[in-house]
């Protein structure tokens, strides 16, 4: 009732067009409005199919009544489209095809018995009867909708088809899953990381932990003991129980097929479109290859696919909000997006996609003037809880498990701060016992406090010609080795020998002048007024001198953060700064990567800016070897979980940004992906596996994207011109454009951002986008076949329909048959040679099989 007031208010605004009664051009537009204002048009509607119409009426009076296919007040910003949508929805409500689902929902709500699947199943039997009656009623009711409307006769749920799809999906994926019995491609990384989870040794990787944790868990559950080294691709597994891990990954990967089926079915209600989409996923050899091995991708794709399905499914319950099923699907979609982003950061695009969908839904709800504003707030809060708070909580939980499981020292230690490392069993710092205080002559290692900063390092190499003075390089290096060791000595005298028992022990005090001597090369830490190699406005730091004697530019003043003059220096906990005595600059690990001549280690410079209080100018002593002082087992201030989480992320992001292509490296470019330009070898030499999309499907996807654009433009043109046309055709097109629009957004979100990325890209980054692209193609093909049938009169009999689907499916299946050896593995001659089984299939020169 409130809405009526608002609506009439809107009528009074000056830009309102003529009232429906005197505008002959738009006979149908105001039906719904009148329906809401007056009762008479409603009575027209409600004379035949009582069940459906009851739902329809309920829609006006109590919109919360379960009913699927009437969006209440619809989506877009402008008001006239609202009305159009309502109009369309009334079409839907009276359409043959959609009436079934009303019955489904009506049954669900009234009987509340069994699951929705059960109810849908039941309607199979009632289908004929009800569609017959409602088609009659439709003819009576609407003059504009002629018999030429596009019929979605197969909108019933078919268990048979679904099971077939499921069996085929699982069958193709599991066929030859244990072959080859050697390490394929990135299995060498992810298998190894799985092993590390089983062994609980700490490591560093640029991806979030969930995927690898799952691989570890799969291995653990299937009896793999974590001992296989996964050294390089091609290594034989022999006795290793690797099949379990593969099977689990493959199981997740094979779920893509049914999930796609379900997603498209929920979006279009068309079994044929759903079938096509599932077939496109099923028969793509690229997806098959990618989801058969111990990789993150099957897990990632499963979660992405799952997020999309759950959110689409959730949307279908929009008219029964806050019910149990509604909450279930909302929570599930929150869980899935959390999982997707916890496998790889690419999942972020999925989160964005779900985010856009959610904003759209909220916008729809906000436009429903029959509901108070608090109702929108309720919806907003529910979604914020389930799609923001819950995923964050899950993500953090995964990290908690990750950090709790990996409690032993491993090869990733050096990337993390000393405090972090002291938590790892087996790390030299764990329950470390070393002198608490630092004395002259001690052998120490210095770690930069910059997040992810390494150890102060030097080696037997000079700065090259043209990069400052040609003296020995000083860098920071994240891994532990002997070149990180320094001796700390007084500025004016050599250090006492470590094993000299008679020398007095003199502790270093805050403010002392010192020299640092590199143990291996016996050169002193030195700086001078020459620009540093990368950070040009700071000074270069070098190793200088012979056997520990240098010059006056080797003298540094040591200062402890917050320390008083004369304080002693403590291991790990003291935060130190090194001021250069002559140049008056601060030793700083800038975190910039040096070129190849320095083995891509990080730059060290001397910053003349005294106000530079960034962490990069702070250092701490990590190791302290001095036999004449008593070792103490000191308890470091252990970082809490939040600190560890933040530190891990900073390091991960830096790692990701550091994955830059080297000069001359052939990297895959995003434009190559959709055209299937070049694949990727999974396994070389004797048993070849080559990741390449099924060219038929990929090129069809490529061709259908512009076709979608054409339909979209055509649709927009028709709308904008305000053409009168057959309502059914219009409704079908409207629906197709909406569905495809969302799929297109999904594709674009998972594809276009790669163009802006500077990091190394690979072919397999396209596969999340491919899922959307394939679904889009299926919906478009389905729409066109139906359009042909409904518009060209002699194609009307069902024969054509079946022939077209048969043709499409068999083409795709046959191309799968042709290209399947790529993923199931081939041996023997290359495809260019006459006697190869793949001869004649090398359609592009750039393919390498």
């Amino acid at each position: 009732m409130q809405a009526i007031g608002r609506r009439s208010l809107r009528n009074s605004t000056p830009r309102e067009s003529p009232t429906p009664e005197n505008d002959p051009l738009k006979p149908r537009r105001w039906v719904r409005t009148r329906g809401r204002l007056a009762k008479s048009p409603l009575s027209e509607f409600s004379d035949t199919d009582t069940e459906t119409e009851a739902a329809n009426q309920n829609h006006f009076i109590r919109p919360a009544t379960p009913k699927r296919y009437s969006k209440t007040f619809s989506n877009s910003g402008s008001n006239h489209t609202n009305i159009n949508h309502i109009l369309n929805n009334s079409r839907y409500a009276n359409d043959i095809s959609y009436s079934n689902s009303h019955i489904i929902m009506a049954k669900e709500s009234s009987a509340k018995s069994g699951s929705s699947k059960g109810a849908q199943n039941k309607t199979d039997q009632t289908k004929n009867k009800s569609s017959g009656s409602s088609s009659e009623s439709q003819k009576q009711k609407s003059q504009t909708s002629s018999a030429s409307g596009i019929n979605y006769n197969d909108t019933h749920w078919s268990w048979g088809v679904f099971l077939l799809i499921l069996v085929l999906g699982v069958g193709t994926r599991f066929y030859k899953v244990e072959e080859p019995d050697h390490v394929c491609w990135d299995e060498t990384h992810f298998g190894k990381m799985g092993s590390w989870y089983i062994n609980r040794t700490f490591f560093f990787d640029v991806h979030p932990p969930l995927g690898k944790m799952m691989i570890g868990a799969f291995g653990y559950l299937t009896g793999y003991n974590g001992t296989f080294p996964f050294e390089s691709p091609g290594q034989k597994y022999n006795e290793t129980k690797y099949v379990g891990m593969r099977v689990c990954c493959t199981a997740l990967g094979s779920m893509l097929v049914p999930l796609t089926y379900l997603t498209v079915w929920e979006m279009t209600e068309s079994t044929s479109a759903a079938c096509l989409a599932a077939a496109f996923i099923l028969f793509d050899v690229g997806l098959l290859t990618l989801t058969q091995y111990i990789l993150l991708d099957p897990i990632l794709l499963f979660f992405i696919s799952g997020s999309v399905y759950t959110s689409v499914k959730f949307y279908t319950y929009r008219n029964t909000p806050f019910t149990f099923v509604w909450w279930t699907w909302l929570v599930l979609s929150g869980v899935f997006i959390a999982c997707a982003i916890s496998v790889k950061f690419v999942g972020l695009f999925t989160v964005l996609y779900i985010g856009f969908r959610t904003i759209y839904e909220l916008w729809e709800i906000l436009g429903d003037l029959t509901k108070p504003i608090t109702y929108t707030m309720k919806h907003f809060i529910a979604r914020a809880m389930c799609l923001i708070a819950l995923p964050i909580a899950l993500y953090v939980t995964f990290f908690y498990i990750h950090l709790a499981v990996l409690n032993r020292s491993g090869n990733g230690d050096g990337f993390y701060s000393s405090a972090f490392q002291s938590q790892l069993i087996g790390n030299p710092l764990y329950n470390a016992s070393m002198p608490r205080e630092v004395a002259y002559g001690a052998m120490i290692s210095l770690k930069s406090q910059r997040t992810g900063g390494g150890y102060l390092h030097s080696h037997w190499h000079l700065y090259p010609e043209g990069v400052g003075a040609k003296q020995q390089q000083i860098t920071t290096y994240a891994h532990k080795d002997d070149n990180n060791k320094w001796i700390i000595k007084k500025f004016d005298e050599p250090a006492p020998k470590l094993d000299n028992k008679s020398a007095p022990i003199e502790l270093i005090k805050n403010g002392d002048l010192i020299r640092l001597e590199h143990i291996v090369t016996k050169r002193n830490l030195h700086t001078h007024r020459i620009p540093a190699p990368v950070t040009k406005k700071q000074w270069q730091v070098t190793g200088y001198g012979e056997n520990g004697t240098g010059d006056a530019n080797d003298v540094w003043r040591i200062e402890v953060l917050g320390g008083k003059p004369g304080d002693h220096i403590n291991v790990v906990s003291s935060r130190l700064r090194f001021f250069h005595q002559l140049q008056n600059c601060i030793l700083s690990g800038t975190g910039k990567q040096l070129p190849k001549w320095a083995y891509e280690q990080m730059e060290v410079s001397c910053s003349p800016n005294h106000r530079d209080v960034r962490k990069s100018t702070y250092w701490n002593i990590e190791e302290n070897h001095f036999p004449r002082l008593p070792n103490v087992s000191f308890q470091v201030h252990a970082p809490n979980f939040i600190e560890k989480l933040v530190e891990s992320h900073t390091i991960m992001f830096e790692g990701n940004a550091g994955l830059k292509p080297k000069e001359g490296e052939v990297t895959s470019r995003p434009w190559q992906w959709p055209i299937n330009y070049r694949g990727q070898y999974f396994s070389g030499s004797t048993y070849r596996i080559y990741l390449l999309g099924n060219p038929i499907i990929w090129w069809a996807n490529l061709a259908l994207l512009p076709l979608f654009a054409v339909i979209y433009i055509y649709h927009a043109w028709k709308e904008q011109r305000g053409y009168e046309e057959n309502v059914d055709i219009k409704a079908a097109r409207d629906k197709t454009v909406t569905v495809c629009g969302w799929l297109f957004v999904g594709w674009a979100l998972h594809y276009l951002p790669f163009y802006t990325m500077g990091r190394v890209l690979y072919f397999h980054h396209y596969f999340p986008a491919l899922l959307f692209s394939s679904m889009l193609s299926a919906v478009i093909i389905d729409y066109f076949i139906r359009l042909l049938i409904s518009t060209v009169s002699f194609l009307k009999d069902n024969g054509f329909f079946h022939v077209m689907y048969g043709l499409t499916l068999s083409t795709v299946a046959y191309s799968f048959y042709l290209f399947a050896p790529l993923s199931y593995g081939t041996s023997g001659p290359l495809a260019v040679e006459e006697n190869s089984t793949m001869h004649g299939l090398k359609w592009l020169d750039s393919w390498e099989f």
């Binding site: 830009r15 067009s17 006239h80 906000l366 436009g367 001359g664 052939v666």
Partner: protein, 813 residues
């Protein structure tokens, strides 16, 4: 607020209506009073378009102001639009009437006073004048140079310097920032164009603001803000590219909006064409200018879409034809302008120069001097017995090279090598770059009367000229890229490793005609691009891009690669001659003749495309080395870092430091947020059918928002997506939009506060703010102009933000 639904709705409705009635009067009164107010005072001639708006907005039927390309719902307002079109003045296409906007002229004069005042000071190279001045000088000397930015800006500077001083011959070396200009360098001429375009920019901004429905006062304010911004002032006073870029861009937008106001008359075609012209000029200064062009195109399109497409009095074909014509003209203007700029560029620059090596051999050969002089008179067809140098054709220029040193037996990582003779790619001309093409089955290398020409698909041996060894590859990991095969000159070490010296010649991209089919093509020197395929492995000879360590004299590594189709596997013959007789081979090689001659011809089309391609490539492979004053886009919002442009030398603190007017800058950033909040608030309210402001104010606001916010977002967000060194001045195009966005926000706030008590508060704050802007401008003027020199303590006081690194000389007062 828990009332009954019914009561609430009634209550709400009456409230709404009252509010609407009160407000709906706003804009018309605003417009007219504003107009009268100004007309009385300043007696301005406002242009025809804006006066027609006023007349229409007073008429009760017109719901949508014609100043907007109608953001609003089209169908509901069709009736009203029809009236607009009927009323549209039928102006003759050929009649051009001049109008002078005194306000715009006034703004120009004020701006010119600041921009031109003491323009030649400082009389030394300031920041990027180093590059642009150098390029302008190269134009004077007609020497070819390569720059990833398009040439228009440099052309304008060269042209104006030529106009002001014809005697300058371009010989001044722009060697380092701060070195003084001698008096024969026309520094005023060079700085004239940026200063001129910087002076007209405030007027453009004023006109644009007027066009999108901002009131006179606030439009003038936008011009003033641009005048009183220090960063824009600095950029206008030196040989820099931002002013041409932004000014042309604004002009393009102005004409696009003008075009949308006269969609019915043929003048719209003219305006669209002018808009495309200026957009292209902007794009030809820097490629970021393409955003202006795109925006102009989109504005025109949107106007068609929302106002013309729904009209029933046009048939669909007629409509499509109309849109097609407009875009054809748009596109043709763009194409003609862009291509002519490059035509001028390439026809002026005819001499070989320092950047030649970036281009292909064919391109180089078309320039006077340089390569053309070397390859003059050399035979074309590569045949058996040809002595050639093989250039890595695309990407880093280097020539295939070998020398008597072998690969080390063991590399530092412990792998072994074949210990055969090294083959590398060397970036300098050298006698060791010569190779001899040989048929495998023929031994005598001398070229007879009947040349045995090598064709596509032929198999050859390549003999290294100085050592006489065969180019070879085998299944041994290459030194730096272990995944590829090593390439060597074959030495038989008797270790059962047979020679595999057979290479197949594959010519890329056809015989030079239109056809891409290379079957039967002959291998030609300079022009043919070839791949050399190692026959036994099927891999292609490739420059890996990696540098060899010391044992390889830091030359570049050559390998074979499984991935055949890539740029790094393409080679071409650069120098070429026939072996006269077997005996004198070495002697011939050592006496490479150098006869300077005329260049070969290369069509403009192929030069144009090659240049486009190289520019694309080089902007893709970015320069990521960091600069002391480089900054990140997120730092621009709050002006966290400046750039030291110039310092006056020891003993004085005179300096130019690029910093915007901090007051405008920070309030602008805040204004973006405020604007988003305002528009978001209205959007949400309208979704609930609560109309807080009337349709006209709303659609004007939306128009302003979409142009200013759209322009701001496009030009700003773009920088997050590029991967190269960025500087504060990259923000300036966005900054100009930001100023206009702030103006539009202020204008709107002024509109809605006009009839409440708040208006005094609003005006007071506004005045205070303007005073503050002026104060900040004058405070930072010394570091913008470069004079007078400030003392140490004054500079310290100017450091409003601790990150601003003004340079204080140690011996300064």
């Amino acid at each position: 607020m828990r009332m009954g639904v019914k009561e609430k709705s009634k209550f709400g409705r009456s409230m709404m209506e009252e509010r609407k009635r009160g407000r709906s009067l706003l804009p018309s009164t605003d417009e007219s009073s504003e107009g009268e107010h100004v007309t009385n005072k300043k007696d301005i001639t406002s242009n025809a378009a804006s006066s027609s708006i006023k007349s229409k907005s007073r008429s009760p039927t017109a719901a949508v102001p014609s100043s907007s390309p109608s953001i609003s719902n089209s169908k509901n307002t069709q009736g009203s639009k029809r009236t607009i079109f009927e009323n549209a003045e039928e102006e003759s296409f050929w009649k051009i009437s001049f109008e002078i906007d005194i306000v715009a002229v006034g703004l120009f004069i004020l701006a010119a006073a600041t921009r031109f005042y003491n323009l030649t000071s400082p009389n030394s190279i300031v920041f990027d004048e180093l590059h642009y001045g150098k390029y302008a000088s190269l134009y004077m000397r007609q020497i070819f140079f390569f720059d990833p930015h398009p040439p228009l800006g440099k052309q304008l500077i060269a042209a104006s310097s030529y106009v002001f001083d014809r005697s300058y011959n371009g010989t001044f070396k722009f060697d380092r920032i701060g070195s003084p200009y001698p008096d024969w360098v026309p520094i005023f001429g060079m700085r004239f164009i940026p200063a001129l375009l910087g002076s007209v920019m405030p007027s453009f901004s004023y006109i644009l603001c007027r066009e999108i429905g901002i009131s006179m006062t606030f439009s003038i304010l936008s011009g003033l803000l641009i005048i009183f911004d220090n960063a824009l002032l600095i950029q206008s006073r030196h040989i820099l590219m931002e002013m041409p870029l932004i000014s042309f861009g604004l002009l393009s937008l102005i004409f696009a909006i003008k075009a949308t106001k006269q969609l019915n008359s043929n003048k719209s075609l003219l305006f669209v064409s002018i808009s495309a012209f200026f957009g292209t000029l902007s794009l030809s200064v820097k490629y970021i200018g393409s955003f202006y062009l795109a925006m102009s195109g989109f504005i025109v399109f949107y106007c068609f879409w929302s106002r013309v497409v729904p009209r029933k009095d046009f048939g669909a074909p007629q409509l499509l034809l109309k849109i097609g014509t407009v875009y054809l003209i748009f596109f043709l203007t763009f194409l003609a302008t862009y291509v002519s700029i490059f035509y001028i560029h390439l026809s002026i620059l005819t001499q070989a120069g320092p950047h030649d090596s970036v281009m292909t051999s064919a391109f180089q050969a078309s320039l006077k001097g340089g390569l053309a002089s070397i390859i003059k008179g050399q035979p074309v067809q590569v045949s058996h017995g040809s002595q050639v140098t093989l250039r890595h054709a695309l990407g880093r220029p280097c020539w295939m090279h070998s020398h008597l040193q072998n690969y080390p037996i063991k590399y530092s990582d412990g792998r072994g090598s074949s210990h055969q003779q090294q083959v590398t790619c060397y970036s300098f001309k050298d006698v060791n770059n010569w190779w001899i093409v040989k048929r495998p089955e023929v031994d005598n290398l001398a070229v007879n009367e009947t040349k045995d020409v090598i064709k596509h698909g032929d198999q050859i041996h390549l003999v290294h000229g100085m050592s006489g060894r065969l180019l070879n590859s085998h299944d041994v990991a290459a030194p730096q890229s272990p995944q590829n095969q090593e390439v060597s000159c074959y030495i038989d070490h008797n270790v059962s490793m047979p020679a595999e010296p057979l290479w197949r010649v594959e010519i890329v991209g056809g015989c030079g005609g239109v056809s891409q089919n290379s079957e039967g093509c002959e291998w030609h020197a300079v022009k043919s691009m070839v791949r050399l395929i190692h026959v036994t492995s099927g891999q292609a000879l490739r420059m890996s891009g990696k540098q060899l360590p010391k044992w390889g004299f830091n030359q570049h590594e050559v390998v074979t690669d499984r991935i055949v189709v890539q740029d790094d596997t393409v080679w071409n013959v650069e120098e070429h001659r026939y072996t006269k007789s077997e005996k004198d081979r070495e002697k011939e090689l050592l006496e490479a003749e150098m006869i300077p001659t005329k260049p070969t011809d290369l069509s403009f089309r192929s030069k144009f495309w090659e240049l486009q391609w190289k520019m694309l490539i080089s902007s893709g492979s970015s320069q990521t080395e960091s600069h002391a004053y480089a900054s990140f886009p997120s730092e621009w919002l709050f002006l966290s870092r400046g750039i030291a442009y110039w310092i006056g030398g020891s003993g004085t603190n005179a300096q130019i430091h690029l910093l915007g007017n901090p007051v405008i800058w920070l309030t602008g950033s805040f204004g973006v947020l405020l604007h988003l909040v305002i528009v978001g608030f209205y959007l949400l309210r309208r979704r609930r059918l609560c109309f807080d402001i009337d349709e006209e104010t709303w659609s004007t606001l939306l128009l302003q928002s979409s142009i200013c916010l759209g322009g701001y977002a496009l030009t700003y967000v773009y920088h997050f997506c590029v991967d190269r060194t960025l500087f504060l001045h990259h923000y300036l195009p966005s900054y100009v939009f930001k100023i206009m966005l702030m103006i539009s926000t202020l204008h709107h706030l002024n509109c809605i506060s006009k009839y409440s008590k708040l208006r005094y508060l609003f005006s007071a704050i506004l005045l205070l703010w303007i005073v503050f802007v002026m104060y900040a401008f004058s405070r930072f003027l010394p570091t913008s102009m470069g004079f007078p020199s400030l003392t140490r303590s004054e500079l310290e006081a100017l450091k409003w933000n601790q990150n601003w690194d003004f340079i204080v000389q140690s011996n300064s007062p």
